[in-house]
């Protein structure tokens, strides 16, 4: 090239390069890396106004999404019904160890010290169900997921989980049922408010015909739950929807010990506390839980 018409020719050459297509796995890889990363801010608990209307289609769409995820976890392994719900209430005693030192708390986080000096922590130690759950490293790791933590601190969730158990979850965790609930004709029947008709539809009927789940799907408990303001509030909440799509969350709510731990609200308060996760990594916290487990 003997001479450039500087801008036009250069621009044409650069334009000729075109965009580069990113690797097809880039989004997935990024999301896989960020999911374990907790957000820096404590997750706020959102409240929703009463009286919001929403389409049943949306409700059922979310229910189906949750069902599929629960189904996945049913395949991977689901805690046996009743396990952990039998926590006995023993003589709880307030933890009275010596004051915390810097080395007891990861990175010397002052918020951890504050948390362990708080009433919330004292109440936590008196709650056998919460103590049992927090003594499980797997559960603690799961609730570090910010969407899980946020959703668990939603007071409506505890109500909803209690409503669903023990009736619905055994039905939802069935893969064929979850698949059937996504069928348009089933959704249409559900939208019409006719659960009895819905379970007569092809795939759903086949899915439930030999399982006795048909009765569960038409149970008053399920009908009430799906038409309740609590359920509507939950599925209007994008954070809750994100959690429902999270395999980690599915694993958490599949843990039947959670129902018991959510009863008092103490666990939820602890999860919403600033210093909770810093404290939970300290030896002092583990020692306090251990002493209370033994005391109970």
């Amino acid at each position: 090239m003997s001479e450039f018409a500087p801008d036009d020719r250069l621009s044409a050459l650069l334009d000729e390069l075109g965009p580069e297509d990113p690797p097809s796995t880039l989004v997935r890889d990024v999301m896989a890396r960020i999911n374990p990363v907790p957000t820096r801010q404590p997750a706020p608990v959102l409240r929703f106004e009463k009286g919001h209307d929403m389409t049943r289609k949306f409700i059922w769409g979310i229910a189906a999404a949750a069902a599929i995820l629960l189904a996945v976890f049913s395949i991977k392994g689901f805690p046996p019904t009743g396990a952990g719900t039998e926590g006995t209430i023993g003589a709880a005693k307030r933890y009275q160890a010596a004051q915390l030192s810097e080395k007891d708390v990861t990175l010397g986080d002052a918020s951890a010290q504050e948390f362990m000096q708080s009433d919330t922590f004292a109440k936590l130690l008196k709650d056998p169900a919460a103590v049992k759950l927090l003594s499980d490293a797997k559960f603690v790791a799961q609730v570090k997921d910010s969407s899980v933590r946020y959703t668990l601190t939603n007071p409506d969730l505890a109500v909803f989980i209690r409503w669903l158990r023990p009736e619905l979850i055994p039905a939802l965790v069935r893969y064929d049922v979850a698949r059937a609930l996504q069928k348009p004709e089933v959704i249409a029947a559900l939208q019409a408010g006719d659960l009895a008709a819905a379970v007569q539809k092809g795939d759903l009927n086949a899915a439930v015909s030999d399982s006795g789940i048909k009765a569960l799907l038409t149970s008053a408990n399920l009908v009430n739950a799906l038409h309740s303001q609590v359920f509507v509030s939950l599925v209007q909440n994008p954070q809750v929807i994100a959690a429902l799509r999270s395999p980690v969350f599915a694993g958490v709510i599949a843990d039947l010990r959670l129902s018991a731990a959510l009863e008092s609200g103490v666990l939820q308060n602890a999860l919403a506390s600033n210093g909770f996760f810093a404290a939970v990594q300290s030896q002092q916290f583990a020692a306090a839980l251990a002493s209370n487990v033994h005391a109970q």
Binding site: M1, S2, E3, F4, P6, D7, R9, L10, S11, L13, L14, D15, E16, L17, P19, E20, D21, P22, P23, L26, V27, D29, V30, M31, R33, I34, N35, V37, T39, R40, Q41, A43, P44, L46, S146, S147, R149, Y150, P238, Q239, A242, R245, S246
Partner: protein, 182 residues
Amino acid sequence: MYLTEDADDQSLVRQCMAGDPASFEGLVQRYQRVFFTLAVRMLGDREDASDAVQNAFVKIYEKLHTYDPDRRFFSWAYRILVNECFNARRARRPVEPISGDLPATDNPLATLEIEERRQLVRQALLALSFEHREVLVLRHFTELSYDEIGSTLDLPVATVKSRLHSARQRLARLLLGMEIES
């Protein structure tokens, strides 16, 4: 050309800040192409670019609480991408020119000529200083205005213009040396 409008960026950022990590996927989807294009042009290597873009998105997520919503999201996020490109450049293996597989065509000779020309342009870009390459790449592959480039690079508009002019001159000289047919 490659930079989408960021009308919904603020909404996605707010959802992330409210503790909804899933909404971050929307931002990744939106910016992955332009970020990857910029990183490839900066680094000249797809693997390095992919690593840099991944690292940048993770850091963007971690630093989201420091983002000032009065700024354009792209401008803020781009600084993080550039830092990751610098890091990748420091740790990089020897540069291998990008090899592009030639697409099937009815006119293979013409295709070959175009691909050779593209290869020379890529090499010339990589021969520029990082500062020159950066401003040129931003101008051509994001179509940001001079003002926006200035905001993104934290430079006065006059400096953007003069740097862009120098970068073009330098690129032109490099391409002339490579004897690109006009």
